[in-house]
């Protein structure tokens, strides 16, 4: 697996090298990713930003092993995954990655418990152990009393908590969150971000797409995209309007 361009840095968990993703629309080509080279470290918290259509979701799908590059390489934890087959990518998602989506993507027919248990089912856990784990995680996200509810009986914030609990079930190395607060009001969004902050502090790598600067402010690194390429990378926290308000209120 170790080619000439194998990763050098032990701290690195994700690296794209000259990544291209081209969608063929009839005669037209859409360069959703047009040569991206970037590397994320283990335990980092990234916000990917940029205008609509700039390729943020495309990049997330590639990084999340849901999609494959047209050309270039993708190293996930030092493993070149650009040439893995569908089953191997599924296995990676199952054991290594967690997903949180803008529209929650819970299965509406299943109870909260069953939704959280879903990855464990594919991991082959038995029913009793799965149930215990689901309860533990539901409590962790503050929904210990909603295990037998259906998603339709929950608020948006609660649904997103369930989604986060589900993303944590397999104890993933990386959590991908594509606009996790996009469908929530700002107060609820803050609560969700607090959860993600906590997870990051516990050592999980978090890669998140967002439009909102207030949300992006939770990330230590921000990557701005335009037209399928990286526009700029910002590192370190910055003060948002909200932060300033908080600070002045506190003083």
């Amino acid at each position: 697996m170790d080619g000439p361009s194998a990763p050098r840095n032990g701290q690195e968990i994700v690296r794209l090298e000259n990544a291209h993703k081209i969608y063929q629309m009839g005669t037209e080509q859409v360069n959703a990713l047009a040569g991206v080279t970037v590397s994320f470290e283990r335990g980092s918290f990234w916000a990917i930003m940029g205008p609509s259509g700039s390729g943020k979701s495309t990049m997330m799908n590639i990084l999340g092993c849901l999609d494959r590059l047209t050309s270039g390489s993708y190293y996930l934890d030092n493993q070149d995954v650009s040439r893995l087959d569908d089953d191997a990518l599924s296995e990676l998602r199952l054991t290594y990655l967690g997903f949180v989506f803008q529209s929650f993507n819970l299965i509406p027919q299943l109870t909260v418990q069953r939704n959280i248990e879903l990855p464990l089912y594919y991991l082959g856990w038995d029913a009793a152990r799965s149930a215990r784990r689901a309860k533990e995680l539901a409590e962790e996200v503050g929904l210990g009393d909603r295990l037998h509810h259906r998603p339709t009986e929950l608020s948006g914030g609660q649904m997103q908590r369930v989604a986060i609990a589900r993303a944590l079930t397999n104890d993933p190395q990386i959590i991908f969150a594509d606009e996790p607060t996009g469908n929530l009001d700002s107060a609820t969004g803050e609560q969700i971000m607090e959860l993600l902050d906590k997870l990051n502090q516990l050592g999980k790598t978090i890669i998140m797409v967002t439009h909102e600067p207030d949300i992006a402010a939770h990330a230590r690194n921000r990557l701005h995209m335009i037209d399928g390429v990286i526009d700029r990378i910002e590192t370190g926290t910055y003060e948002t309007g909200k932060d300033r308000q908080k600070h002045s209120a506190g003083h």
Binding site: L66, D86, D87, T95, N105, P119, Y121, Y122
Partner: protein
């Protein structure tokens, strides 16, 4: 471990199907009716043919039965002017001697002379069918002995006026009294009852089983001397007289291989000695074969109907499953994103269809067992439920689940998670 996993998958499949109870039920209805009708038809068909074959077998598969029949010319002659004419036809004592003696593979033969006579025991009286025959008859048409003994060669030799009754006749004429040793009078002649045999009733094809009625068996020689060969019947004002020596000859062949050859030989021989065709030869073995062939045809027709109805049921399931896959595209996308492999998505949908079709099969089985039960209960028609008749439709319904579930399941596995997740 593996069983636990399969059990869990099935439990989850059932859980999923129960989310849409009515839809699931309607989906399996096709299989319910398919399997139900197959099981019901099989058991009715099996019952009918088992009954027919049993009756034929009771006639003896190594036997040939020659019966006297009134030839067509005789029938006409009698119907026309000559009213008081005695019609003479049928098998003769000589025929019997010849048949019994001139064929290699004939093991034994029994002559049968039938007359209907009033019989009485003290004040009780009824009409019995009097069967004059030889002891061989009881070998050829085996009947269980209820009491006493059957006819013996000595009875024949001594012209002993003894009688063997069928259980049915015995009960009618002798009521509850002890039977053996009683004397019954048959048109003035006294007979000592020496035995009682079991009655058998029924009809096999066109052949009358000789003792389906209340019969009394007496030695042939006795029947001949007491009652003669002429019988007179009162018929709408006019008299009808017939002279028939023997009504039947039952021939037993050593081995079923020779039955048809011997039957053909007998036919040729009778042709020689009779100038009219006043006899009929029936071969139970041939009837048995015919019955089997009929059953085979029946099974083919049944199989086709069953096949078509199960096909329709299967297509019904496939149709709903395809719709369900489209409806659940997003769910499939979520499962795939979380890490489900294509194969696992296939399993999930396949298990659902197999659970559907097998449940349909089980319900259909219940319906299919109930129907023959009701038929037997209300009409008395025999029905037989065989193990095959139960297992086969069940296995087929399971196979239908796999066959018709595979395509929708493959469709489900082909769903692209990225597109599915955008699916609203």
């Amino acid at each position: 471990m593996r069983q636990a996993k399969i059990a869990r998958n099935i439990a989850l499949g059932i859980e999923n199907l129960l989310l849409h109870k009515l839809r699931s039920f309607l989906t399996m209805l096709g299989v319910v009716f398919g399997v139900g009708s197959v099981v019901a038809m099989l058991s009715v068909g099996e019952g009918a043919s088992a009954e027919a074959m049993d009756q034929i077998r009771r006639l003896g598969s190594n036997n040939i039965i020659i019966s006297s029949v009134k030839s067509a010319e005789e029938e006409q002659a009698q119907a026309s002017v000559q009213r008081s004419r005695i019609s003479v036809y049928g098998l003769t004592y000589q025929d019997f001697t010849r048949v019994a003696a001139s064929f290699n593979h004939v093991k034994q033969a029994a002559p049968v002379k039938l007359t209907r006579k009033d019989s009485r025991l003290r004040e009780r009286s009824m009409e019995l069918r009097v069967v004059g025959t030889t002891p061989q008859w009881f070998d050829l048409v085996p009947r269980e002995i209820v009491a006493g003994r059957v006819l013996m060669q000595a009875d024949e030799d001594e012209r002993a006026p003894v009688a063997v009754l069928t259980e049915f006749g015995a009960r009618k004429i002798l009521a509850t009294e002890a039977v053996i040793g009683q004397t019954i009078r048959i048109t003035g002649n006294e007979f000592k009852v020496v035995g009682v045999v079991k009655s058998e009733s029924g009809q096999a094809g066109n052949i009358q089983i000789p003792d389906q009625e209340a019969d009394v068996y007496i030695p042939l020689g006795v029947a001949r001397t007491y009652f003669g060969d002429i019988s007179i019947r009162q018929k709408s004002g006019s008299m009808e007289a017939e002279q028939v020596q023997l009504h039947q000859i039952i021939v037993q062949v050593e081995d079923s291989r020779y039955v048809e050859a011997v039957a053909a030989g007998i036919e040729r021989m009778l042709e020689q000695f009779h100038n009219k065709k006043d006899y009929a030869i029936s071969v139970p073995l041939a009837l048995l074969r015919q019955a089997k062939a009929t059953k085979r045809t029946f099974n083919i027709v049944l199989g086709s109907i069953a096949g078509i109805s199960l096909l329709v049921g299967g297509i019904g399931i496939m149709n709903i499953m395809l719709a369900s896959v489209t409806e659940r595209t997003r769910e499939i996308g979520i499962r795939r994103a979380i890490g489900a492999k294509r194969r696992q998505i296939i399993y999930q949908f396949l298990i659902e269809t197999v659970v559907l079709s097998t449940t349909g099969g089980l319900i259909g089985l219940g319906v299919g067992v109930l129907i023959p039960f009701l038929i037997t209960y209300f009409s008395g028609m025999a029905t037989v439920i065989t193990l095959n008749g139960v297992l086969l439709p069940l296995l087929i319904s399971m196979a239908i689940g796999i066959l018709f579930g595979l395509y929708p399941a493959m469709n489900a596995a082909k769903v692209d998670p990225i597109i599915a997740l955008r699916h609203e």
